[in-house]
């Protein structure tokens, strides 16, 4: 097997937001590093407030990290404005969570899909642009495209809207797509269709995906590797099936257990997690960890390499 090259590398990303009033700043992202390989789908899994969306926004350049760097296709893109960085940024696109919010209600489908082409000046004639829009709409199964092009977002169902958002992200031919919970606002019966579409496009175009989700079941279908985030840090990363079958970090195990079998989670709840506030020095998960020992409250653990792609941030592993 030839070595697969990394298309995206995030190193030691940090981001603080000012706290409410005079309170201390909130550390949204706390030293996050990961790589996305050419053609793979990396999942970022975590609960709300774990910093996964902020990480995604830093990657595509919607937020500037306080420290750390994003390197995309060999070019440092975070906080840079020189032409090479800008050109690289164009080859990343984002799909947002809520297709009811992310599409401008005053624009038609064809205007929405054409917008990236217009901004990046990727066409010569209007005919060429129209052609690109039609191809893009048909690639997301909105066929025939002519039926949808003059509609406004409110005339589409949630699933169709998200397809428009995908067509819009892909029309400029990006090599990396960052998808932030693209199915969490959709009904389950349409969700599967969108996931299948993303998988198909990923394979057909050898796309790399950074897939943000809170749902392990979605991560299982989409992602070959996942990184689990807790309180702004990656606590474990590895192959999806490995983490589901045999995660090392107590938080990963709890997250998987609760989704896999709720009844047995209830029966052994004390074994997985306890009540507590994330705080203080040491391991951020320690106050909720049923296995925490003295060391866990004193020293923050480092990410440790366990073999293959498996990394974990826990004193006890």
């Amino acid at each position: 097997m030839s070595p697969v090259k990394d298309i995206l590398a995030a190193t030691e990303l940090k981001k603080d937001y000012p706290g409410p009033g005079r309170r201390s700043p909130v550390r949204a992202v706390d030293g996050v590093s990961f790589t996305v390989r050419q053609g793979e789908c990396l999942g970022l899994v975590g609960e709300s407030g774990s910093g996964k969306t902020t990480t995604a926004r830093i990657v595509v350049g919607l937020e500037k990290p306080d420290s750390g760097a994003v390197t995309f296709e060999g070019v440092k893109t975070s906080g840079e404005r020189h032409p090479a960085a800008r050109a690289a940024c164009r080859r990343m696109q984002m799909i947002f969570q809520d297709p009811y919010e992310s599409l401008n209600p005053g624009m038609t489908v064809s205007q929405l899909v054409a917008e990236p082409l217009r901004i990046q000046r990727l066409y010569r004639t209007t005919g060429e642009m129209r052609e690109a829009v039609i191809t893009s709409l048909e690639s997301v199964d909105l066929e025939p495209a002519s039926l949808y092009m003059n509609r406004h977002p409110h005339q589409l169902s949630g699933g169709q809207r998200q397809r428009v958002a995908i067509a819009r992200a892909l029309v400029s031919g990006p090599s990396l797509v960052v998808a932030d919970e693209p199915t969490s606002m959709l009904d389950v019966s349409v969700r599967a269709g969108i996931l299948a579409l993303l998988s198909r496009l990923q394979q057909e175009r050898n796309l790399s995906l950074l897939f943000i989700t809170h749902d392990w079941t979605v991560a299982r279908v989409m992602c070959s590797r996942v990184a689990v985030m807790y309180a702004g840090q990656i606590v474990e990363s590895g192959r999806t099936e490995d983490l589901i079958a045999d995660g090392c970090h107590p938080y990963t195990r709890a997250l998987v257990a609760v989704v896999a079998d709720l009844k047995s989670f209830w029966a052994n709840q004390a074994h997985y997690v306890r009540d507590g506030q994330t705080s203080g020095t040491g391991c951020l998960f320690a106050p909720r960890c049923p296995r925490a020992v003295c060391l866990c409250y004193k020293e923050p653990p480092d990410l440790v390499h366990l073999g293959d792609d498996h990394w974990v941030r826990c004193h006890l592993s």
Partner: protein, 319 residues
């Protein structure tokens, strides 16, 4: 024994776009001490069922026909002031996004006490004692009664709202997406509280949700709703063994099981129909892969195919 019986409930909304047939001839019953799951996708009318039972449908909505028998008494025949006494005391409601259902300027204890003093005529001291007991029962320390909503986490607020719904020991509780929007761990905790209360207090509950696998953990029976109608009513066992309606089958295969070997994810083609413009015949037929014969002209009725298993599907009836 059935604590709640719903017969031919029909609720419609007259809007500029036409009549929204949110609930069409829905019938089901809730046994005493049981949690019945009411499952459907957004816009299928499941929340309207919940609101109709409490007679809280606001204009332009209107309950057109139907009976709602609570312990044999028809709520549809009650006057508005009688309903005010019945709500909360006999039948209570846990609203969607209960996290935002609390008033931010009163303490949680005060808000629960209000119901007790208003409905049960409790004295302040007695109400305080009851609030303490209620909070403990949902796993919140009684000392938190003085806390304001912003001082509590999402899961705690959710449990406080459950405590509030239980304040007057109602006969039936209707919970509308009570755990939607919570993180999985918090959700597990809240569901555990509900399940524990059910076995301890013999709670009867209609649990409205869109999450089929989740609900299968806390219910004995499940009603599946599609485009304003009940399409299948079955026990959790039957659901796992052999659901009969193509929509139920489609829903089941849209979910992924973390324990089972990985399989291809199936989706149901098309999308949920507009309730102002329902397809004729069976509401599901344009999306149904087993559609044929009279599916597109005859609306199927719920038929009992085995004990406790009802299904509304022309194909199932044909066979």
């Amino acid at each position: 024994m059935n604590i709640l019986e719903v017969r031919n409930l029909t609720t419609r909304f007259s809007t500029a776009r036409g009549i929204v047939r949110a609930v069409e001839r829905v019938s089901f019953h809730l046994k005493k001490g049981e949690i019945l799951g009411l499952i459907g996708e957004s816009g299928c009318g499941k929340s309207t069922v919940g609101l109709s039972l409490l007679r809280l449908v606001e204009p332009p909505g209107r309950i057109v026909t139907g009976q709602v028998l609570l312990d044999g008494v028809d709520l549809m025949k009650k006057s508005e002031s009688e309903m005010n006494d019945i709500r909360w005391k006999l039948i209570s409601y846990i609203p969607q996004s209960a996290m935002n259902a609390l008033n931010p300027i009163y303490s949680v204890g005060w808000q629960i006490r209000e119901a007790l003093q208003r409905h049960e005529g409790y004295s302040l001291g007695r109400a305080r004692a009851r609030v303490a007991e209620l909070l403990e029962s949902v796993g919140i320390a009684a000392s938190r009664a003085g806390s304001y909503p912003h001082e509590m986490s999402g899961g705690m607020k959710q449990r406080a709202v459950i405590a509030m719904a239980l304040a007057c020991s109602p006969k039936v509780v209707i919970s509308d997406e009570a755990t939607t929007g919570l993180d999985v761990m918090t959700q597990a905790q809240v569901l555990h509280v509900i399940k524990t209360l059910q076995s301890r207090l013999g709670l009867s509950m209609l649990f409205i949700s869109h999450d089929l696998p989740l609900v299968a953990n806390i219910c004995e029976r499940i009603a599946i709703m599609y485009a304003g109608r009940l399409v299948e009513l079955l026990t959790v066992d039957q659901l796992r063994r052999q659901p009969l309606h193509p929509y139920t089958q489609g829903l089941m295969s849209s979910f992924i099981d973390l324990k089972a070997p990985l399989r291809r994810l199936e989706s149901i083609p098309g999308s949920v129909p507009d309730l102002t413009d329902l397809p004729c015949g069976c509401g599901f037929h344009p999306r149904c892969c087993q559609c044929g014969g009279d599916c597109c002209c005859k609306a199927p009725e719920l038929v009992e195919v085995e004990p406790d298993h009802w299904v509304a599907c022309c194909k199932v009836v044909r066979e």
